[in-house]
Symmetry: C2
Subunit: 129 residues, 2 copies
DNA sequence: TTAATCTTTCCAGTAACTGGAAGGTCAAGG
DNA sequence: CCTTGACCTTCCAGTTACTGGAAAGATTAA
């Protein structure tokens, strides 16, 4: 599959896909004409990168996450430790998103453009430390 | 409050805090000695920025989110529309995080370093389109 | 008063893309 | 066969969002 097709399926711009190849996140085959040739597995990885990047994980963290299922030589304990650390991060992110959600809901429901400097939203907004 | 203190309370490096001021996200007072002087409101904003940036929102999106409770002149309908759009984004992010969580849990539970190229995780990993 | 620890500005470097030029490839229509 | 347009290639420059470091002023503690 050509890069344009992989782009559509993954939701990533072609520029970004080539960039991810440059920094060694994936290595698609090449057709005889020199075009990159993406497998479904490549597309899965790209889609995964698209998601995890959008959720605030750095490229290096994404590289580690990809390694979790790619690196077959890694010891099981290492994999588990790494995955569990990421799971805790994800838990925290979900909680933060729920708080943000709550704050915005509150804003929509109660502050019709007339909020004062001491608007209670300001308190929730910060997550209170 | 000095920048170091604001940094501790917000979780943002001082460098980043100054950068956010450069690009006009907040404007702390200045003490007589020239030091920046952060109010609790400033710290709330910084903490909010720290969170929303970490959750994958761009600086410009964060600027809009901040505007949601700062811009008292904005019409209520506009505020609601914007907030609701952000709420849908947040919903999507939470779903994606849950899927990622599910994938990692599956990895920890079932793939002890012996996963094959056709490992079922690969399917889930990509969110199936 | 001196040393350590702030703080300031400025400027350069990095991370993660993003846009554009210059050119090769391919599928469709005349 | 030839052309046109949509693809693809590489390369290089620009942008976003920081990040590090230098040089110098301010504050605190001994």
């Amino acid at each position: 599959m050509n890069i344009g097709n992989a782009s559509e399926r993954s939701g990533l711009p072609t520029k970004t896909i080539r960039y991810y190849e440059d920094i060694g996140l994936l290595k698609p085959d090449r057709a005889d004409n020199g075009y990159r040739d993406y497998s479904m597995s490549d597309v899965h990885k790209l889609r995964f990168l698209q998601r995890s990047r959008g959720l605030g994980f750095s490229v290096e963290e994404c590289r580690q996450l990809l390694a979790l299922y790619e690196d077959k030589d890694r010891a099981s304990a290492d994999v588990k430790l790494m995955a569990q650390s990421k799971l805790r991060e994800i838990d925290r992110k979900i909680i933060e998103l729920r708080e943000l959600q709550h704050t915005l809901n509150h804003l929509v429901a109660h502050c019709h453009g007339d909020q004062r400097p001491d608007c209670p939203i300001l308190e929730n907004m910060s997550g209170k430390g």
